[in-house]
Amino acid sequence: MTSSTPGQRAGRFDMHPDGTASHGSRVLGSILLIAVAIFLIVALVASPPDGAGADAMGDMVRIMYVHVPVAIACYTAFMVTAFASAMYLWKRTEGWDCLAAASVEVGIVFTVLTLATGSIWGHTAWGTWWEWDPRLTSTALMFVMYLGYLALRRAVVDPQSRAKQAAVLGLISFINVPIVHYSVDWWRSLHQTATIGRLDPTIDGLKLFALLFGMVLALLLYAWLMLHRFRLQWVETQVEAKGLDTALAERRAEAVADGGVR
């Protein structure tokens, strides 16, 4: 519950009259746009196809420059959620709750990208859109788990209850990620070895550069999306808090209307 006056709060809205952008996020966005263009040239044109060894991927290696970075971004997002959830349970301030919620939503986007790129890779490599690859399978389970997190947030009305329940769930879900991952891995290890995302460790030159470049880009993209999503979440809580002052005044006015005043 903030005790700031309505005037101050109106000022906060004035800071972003046309959305959630600020000068900094605009600069970051512009840099990202240019960087993505460069990345596409490096990944699709400049870097050579994979040609060494019997299980060489040829041009298919290029999808790895997207797939591996977005997978890393989605794990990062859920790690941030777990951290923010723990911080919320410790500090009980709504900023941490906003961070946890925003990071799950952005993480879901990256999870979908991970699943989509993995599936496309599988289609060319194995000839099927879905193979029970351990990583893809555990990512799919993680996807459903965090959809459940968002469903819980939607189902709870009280802001403080929602924050607390979501924080507990955010923490437990993150504990589940490695359990699900290793059990699925162990389950599938009996059947096959070829796994998406297992790159030749001796990869070098432009290929390595494209991969690292992709990773940096994906993390920056995550940060840029988070800036906007977090601000939106924050403004929403401020609107709720602004409603509280009005609601308190209205509630007290009932007493006057009722005639029980002295």
Binding site: V144, A151, W186, W187
Partner: protein
């Protein structure tokens, strides 16, 4: 945790579990609804897979645990439905019962109901699918370990969803992905128990036990804040 707190947690757990068993004795929900449901699922699997004995026999471990999983969902919903009517959640909060004790009691109650369901299912797959286990000890150990894990995770997610209007639809999507490792582990362990090669079976069984311990620990910590907000 000191010795006295642990003792009060256990006595609270016994009180809550005893109450749940008494509730079952009076209402017969598990006996009259859960058991028939579990056996019905076995029959439905046969319809879905053709009543070809060899297919059903091969798939027995997985089908058995799927039937258990679906029954567990109903058991969790029942276990927390009785606590969310007529102000009982409030009564629990001010009762003086230790939340960890309530968690342990609810989990134990769910686990006992599940063990009964599993015993019936075991007879069911033997009679209807013609599958008889060769490693009976592994079957029993797997059932106990998996049931403990299912019940502990069930009590955590059950209380999380308990107070919500959408609890019946939210619980499956929250809880099923979490217990997917249990389905994998229990199916694999049963697989080796039914195919006479017990080597990897015991390793999976150990994984199930570890899961149960982990979720019991999570329940001890998480049940209190979740009960508070449900």
């Amino acid at each position: 945790m000191t010795n006295t707190t642990l003792r009060s947690v256990i006595s609270d757990a016994r009180l809550v579990a005893g109450k749940d068993l008494r509730l079952e004795w009076r209402s017969r929900v598990t006996l009259n609804q859960l058991l028939p449901f579990a056996l019905l699922v076995l029959v439905l699997f046969a319809f879905a897979l053709d009543p070809d004995r060899s297919v059903l026999k091969d798939a027995t471990p997985g089908l058995f645990w799927l039937a258990v999983l679906f029954s567990t969902l109903l058991a969790i919903q029942r276990a927390f439905a009785v606590e969310t009517v007529d102000g009982i959640i409030d009564a629990l909060r001010i009762s003086g019962l230790d939340p960890a004790g309530i968690f342990l009691g609810k989990a134990a109650g769910i686990a006992l109901h599940l063990l009964v369901v599993e015993a019936a299912l075991l007879v069911g797959v033997t009679v209807m699918y013609g599958a008889s286990p060769s490693g009976l000890l592994l079957v029993v150990a797997t059932s106990i370990a998996a049931t403990a894990g299912l019940a502990a995770a069930g009590a955590v997610y059950g209380v999380l969803a308990a107070g919500l209007r959408v609890r019946d639809t939210l619980l499956p999507i929250l809880w099923l992905p979490v217990v997917a490792p249990l389905l994998i582990g229990a199916t694999q362990a049963f697989g080796s128990a039914y195919e006479k090669s017990s080597g990897a079976g015991w390793r999976w069984c150990g994984l199930l036990g570890a899961f149960a311990v982990l979720y019991t620990a999570i329940g001890f910590v998480a049940f209190e804040p979740l009960l508070e907000e449900s």
